[in-house]
Symmetry: C2
Subunit: 354 residues, 2 copies
């Protein structure tokens, strides 16, 4: 079934409130989760509800925590998330970075003691909507990627988002895991009985494999972007290490390689990094935005290898999904819907999704 | 033959001076070029001399230009490179970023009207040596990469460097092109008569190919990191677009997609981006460095898939090369050596390399 965006958003808000999240915080969190679903980033919206519920019950994510500013300097701040869900912490942090960028042209805010924050791109876009360049990274809870040459998982999907304002409502918006693909795409291949393309997974000994059950059932691992040593997976691995340094080493969150990662009581211990840069530091901001818009248009005008599939720019596929789903509603599969309904009922939240 | 580092560096300085570069500028440029050769980044040191000479003679790179600061704000500055070679411009720019970071914790410097600047990582490392996080990007002159789904080259190798201080002299130091591999590695396969691994090149119609002559002789292109659409090459493509936005859209350098790219008289029109961030904005800098060092050590301790090849961290291969070459000298193949000697003779520079 597919509910209208507003119903979908409200359902999420009702569940969060039933979990004890204060109303304003629940509204912000529900908006960010619905942004993911609206834009087709299905892995980061309503599908996270069962996992958030599990961690909430285990005392690993607080629904009542309020972010606190630990240090506040002219161009930077450190926020402690109090063990709360990451969305509110990150909303506060990027807005603080933007507000600093309004004054001195740059704002950088680190967050520690946080949890999963949904789609990275949402926060980068906050900066772009304010006319600034935005950059976001986060550490991850799951350890599922083997470094290049490794036969052991040492880190997670470690995403990066980067946004720059262009034409109104059409920012350049890159939001990417530093792995070749996410676990969900491998699961889809397994469901269809298809092999995974070369480079997606390695065996438990670090050897290339095309078995879609390798990482989930046979002790194997996801790969860094690049896929194989020949494909320069050391670059994806290097970007993931950069993400962990920015997100966790800088903010003082638990490093993914620390045996205590996600093990401390009362918190997931996740770290995030948010940066906003005013292009007006360097040139007329309107000229900058026009340049970004023209650059994106030039890339879209690239002769395509398949005339039916024009070349796109980061942000285009998500905008296309959002336009469709604003019309036709946000689809949720029956299996997931049943799980979310059970969570809502257990929490005593009204059920709107039919 | 392999000359000692100091002889190698001095030879480069003599050629630059013979080209009319003022002595201090030549010393800085020669040091940065020799850094690349010492660290095994052979594509970015002495091997660039014939190309610099060609562009110098064509009036596209000035040897007498001095970088000028166009705007200077508290946390940011814009530098105009005057059409000069990129090394001096970039040295000035990153040092300015570091000096700003000493005051307010962050410094960002854009450079326009510049040219090739050698190894990206050198400048990121300048920041790390000062105790700061460093980030560097640059636009490229050559247009040789097809966007995902494209059958036309629209941009270049567009590198990113990122450094963070860890143990003394051992920073985390990522320096990567956003392509799967550089043209040099494809040439090596052609020289050996070997096919290129899947994902390295595409044909002139954008189809995957393993022909090492595809990009150089048959109208094909290099690929974004990820290699193929299945391998998530849209991520490498997205990172390259980010690099162009930071390097050129921000500084006002000519965009790679602009028909005027590298065509304006008297300049290559290349843009760079330099950022330094003081970890002391967020936590005790010594704790930050210890965390980065421990993180790198944990990654190195990953069980390797081949026990004879331990897992490395970004910066390790280059440090290993530098240690070897400090002992045994910097090797230069006979073909390149003859070319450089001819350039030196034509310029009237003394010849030290035997």
């Amino acid at each position: 079934m597919a509910a209208p965006y507003e119903t979908h958003r409200q359902q999420l808000e009702l569940i969060l409130r039933a979990w004890g999240m204060p109303p304003v915080n629940a509204a912000i969190t529900a908006e960010i989760m619905s942004y993911a679903d609206l834009h087709g980033i299905d892995s980061h919206g309503i599908s996270m509800i069962p996992s958030y519920d599990e961690r909430r019950r285990a005392g690993k994510i607080s629904m009542t925590a309020e972010p606190k500013i630990v240090h506040d300097r002219l161009v930077a701040a450190l926020v402690d998330g109090g063990g709360g869900l990451g969305h509110l912490n990150s909303h506060v942090a990027m807005n603080l970075a933007v507000s600093k960028a309004r004054t001195l042209g740059v704002g950088i805010v680190g967050v520690r003691n946080s949890a999963h924050f949904g789609a990275c791109g949402y926060y980068a876009r906050l900066a772009a909507d304010a006319g600034f360049i935005g950059m976001v990274t986060t550490s991850a809870a799951g350890i599922q990627v083997a470094p290049t040459g490794g036969a052991e998982a040492r880190y997670g999907t470690d995403p990066i988002a980067f946004a720059a304002p262009g034409r109104d409502g059409e920012p350049f918006l890159l939001d990417m895991a530093t792995t070749t693909v996410a676990a969900g795409r491998i699961r889809n291949k397994a469901n269809e009985g298809l092999p995974t393309p070369p480079g997606w997974v390695v065996t438990k000994d670090g050897a290339p494999s095309t078995d879609p059950l390798e990482a989930s059932q046979k002790g194997g691992f996801l790969t860094p972007l690049g896929g194989t040593a020949d494909g320069s997976s050391h670059k994806g691995y290097g970007l993931a290490a950069m993400v962990n340094i920015l997100s966790s080493a800088l903010s003082g969150a638990t490093m993914v390689t620390d045996p205590a990662h996600t093990k401390a009581p009362g918190t997931m211990g996740i770290g995030h990094f948010f940066m906003a840069i005013d292009p007006g530091l360097f040139r007329d901001p309107a000229e900058f935005r026009a340049e970004v818009a023209a650059f994106c248009d030039s890339l879209r005008a690239t002769r395509p290898s398949d005339p039916a599939r024009p070349v796109m720019v980061a942000g285009d596929p998500e905008r296309r999904n959002a336009a469709l789903r604003r019309q036709s509603g946000i689809p949720v599969g029956p299996g997931l819907l049943a799980k979310v309904k059970a969570v809502a009922e257990a929490a005593g939240a009204p059920w709107l999704l039919g």
